[in-house]
Amino acid sequence: MALPLLFGAWLAGDLMKAALPQSQDLHLYVHDFHKVKHSLSLVIPIVLGILFVRRDIGKVSYEWMAALPGSSMVIWSAKWVAGFVYMSLFTVVMAVVYVYFAVSHGIETGIYMTHVWTFVSHYEMSYLITLVLGMALAACIRHRVVYLIGLCGWMFGTYFIDLVLLDILTLPFMRLLHLNQFNLSSSWQLEAWGEVWRRQEWLAFIIFAFAFVICLFVSAVAVHMRNQPGMQPLWWRRACWICIGLAVLAALPYGMLWNERYESLGTYKQETERYVEENAGEELERSSEMVFKAERTEIKVQADGDDSAVITTLLTGSLNKNADGTVPFTLDIPFRLQEVTVDGAPAEYDRQGTAVMVKTGKKANDRVSIAFRYDISGVQRLYSNGGEAITHALQDGTVLLNGNLAWYPIPGNHLMYGYANREIRVNRTRIAMQPQEFDVIVKGVERPVYATLAGEQADDGSWHFSSKQAKSVHLYAGYFIEIPIGRDGTRIVTTPSNRREAERMADQVDEAMSYFEEWLPVHPRVNQILYMPMRYLEQSIYGTEVSGNTMLISELKHHNLDNYQFVRIINSLLFGDDALNISLTYDEKPTFVMELRALFTVMHTRDKLGLDEQESQRSPYISFSKSFRGEEDNENVKRLVKLEGEFHAALDNGGANRLKKLLAEWYERFNGLHIDYYGNADYPPEKYPIITIDMLEQAWERVSDDE
């Protein structure tokens, strides 16, 4: 009993680390445990299996057992069952410990029971296979070297497959032979979707695993009994061959699954090669954008409730002056195009990979409405760096449609994928999308749908999202929870295991926003925070990003809702973008807008939280002198640091209200200090307000004079 209890204590120790200041996402921690430590625990059943056979069944002094009436199968089965029951204690202890922590983290019963079922079924299947593998090895290898071979088998069946076959060689189908299906790089870890997305593969694996277990078991008994009279060699040989055949047959569903996936990957590869061969790269991309400018995009997603959806997208806009009637669009490969109409009439089109060339029959400057009808089904995967990278998914009530990956036709012919080192990778250069009006209707999805646009559920159960000015739209549906921030509809959408962390952050943000709303007419551009692990999503989000009304935060254990994210969230809620920790003081047209924005955080820490200057400067992103370290000789920096000092002095001397008035005035004057920030894109001057150091100093002098 000691070992299962130690195992439980080990898990408890790991789960206790799910505490501040790092992520409190229990799901991440429990999965990390499963991936590494459950694999370690598999050494026990393999040694146990070997011992079972070597301690008595295979020993001369226990030969009396083989002379007992009844089938040897009985003894083997009894031993196997005993071993399995013992190993199940590990499973039980794991489940109990997890449930305890799940309850203490406020995870809903239905959710954690679903997880428990997944964990238990995985553990039991691992132990089932590993135990019989140990017994089979001991039956085949009578020498004690079997212990060494068993350990090698365990190492191969766990870490070797993970690190070499999956990670280095990128042979994901080799997961079939993995003793622990919680692989090091596995989308199981995505609480919102993982269990749904891996279900099909898991079922296919289970079929094979059971057949493989039977095959190993029968073969082991047959090998062991091969010298005994009464053992019909032919019968047993047949039984072994039948079992091996059965195992091969049982591997077929898994093989077919991977065949489909590899066919799909082949298409991506072809597309990448085609694009490189046929296009002049960047030049074409730029020129194609000039052909058609979309002003409004209407999308209707009709899901069938299972794993597919028909999507209709209507783009309305005008052809540019250089247009010749053929308009290029980019639509991701897995979307099967059924029909294209131009102004309601069927139109000719040519599709190659991601490129769709629509012959509109229109002239330059004509207005045109182009409608696309297409469908998609299942989960779309790429494989890179040993892990899955999900591009789009529509399965059993879950939705992932990534606006950055052209789930609706995007004007222009854009390079989306690259092929290097036998891996398909998404082109990390963002498609520069034009702001336009969006209207999205989603029907037939059971779970609540979240979009990066404002919207709500209609009476008929459909979801309606819209925006007058957005660049793209992402759609999500899965296992999410909503944590409201205040009462104005702002919320954190996250995965169930993040409840505690999200609640704490919601309270903190609510308090801060209430403070700002007292003296600032906040422009409500962002009112949704989507916080979840995104590691296995081909999402192109590093850290954080603002898209439409949503701030997306890619969660990691050490990239969580901590003090840094708090500042980022406040920044996004106040200014409607995610620009932070950058300086635009050296750009073509220098601006001190970022430094001005930082003063809002200074106000909060000093005025609301009551910290003095020194204490407040420990908060992230608010100290100019720290930001410009090494550039103290720069004249502008000198002036800025001086201003910062005066700002703090004013706060020390009870000048908070006048400072609030000044900040509110600048906030209103420059459109909420919004920067049209989009990832790694350049910053042309028209994307941000130009605020010079002179303007800041003048305003400051004015406030000081008032004082």
Binding site: V60, S61, E63, M65, N227, P229
Partner: protein
Amino acid sequence: MIHMHNVSKSYGKNKQALKSVHLKIGHGMFGLLGPNGAGKSTLLRMLATLLKPTSGTITINGCDLAREADTIRRMIGYLPQSFQAHPQMTGRQFLDYVAIMKGIGSGKERKRHVDELLEQVNLADKASLAVKTYSGGMRQRIGIAQALIGCPQVLIVDEPTAGLDPEERVRFRNLLNRFSRERTVILSTHIVGDIETSCTQLAVMSRGEVRYAGHPQGLVKIGEGQVWEVELSDNEFTEFEPSQIVGARRTSTGVRCRIVSSSPPVPHAASAVPTLEDGYLALIGGERSE
């Protein structure tokens, strides 16, 4: 009745453990004598349904070993040469476990049977102790008890007295003797004394062949005219091959020896009345000295 007809067993191409063995074993205690490596254990393992003969047929009470091994398993009890029981179990638990494996389903019947056997092997007072605490003799007795569960018609015991102290050996021999009244007991040993007192039939094996099969008196007869007694000086004693001298006792004038030899070993040697051991040594003595 056990019939073995032309039974051979080979391991690979070169090693032949048994060569054309013909044997008939009837009711009572049957001794299987032979030096180490003679093939006794191989033969017994075949009878215990653990090994298939390479050729030949074996029938036990009319059941063919090749086709009806399961039936044979129901009618035999087997105690291997080095017996081990599951050490954590108590004696009673262990016998109960074997009784279940032998198909005695009723708990009440099992308890009665196990108690009876524990009494018979004189382990009733130790029945609740773990097997790992038992002495060598006690382990052999629990071994014989497990072999007797289900009242088998044939009891096969392979060198059961090896490693036992003299007192335990005598007790064990008597125990087997008692059981042989109701069944066939095949006792394999290389200790002639084990067989002398109890076996009505025996076979002597050497190098995979049966060299003698029949009554013990027949084996004694083989020694007639080949056993000599003589008193030797210390110098004379050292000139003899150790394998020739089957007994030696020091006297005031030298060493009184019992020597197996087809002719008088020394001119003053006197012919002696052979024992079973002398007959056995006379039969295989030459081979042992090779």
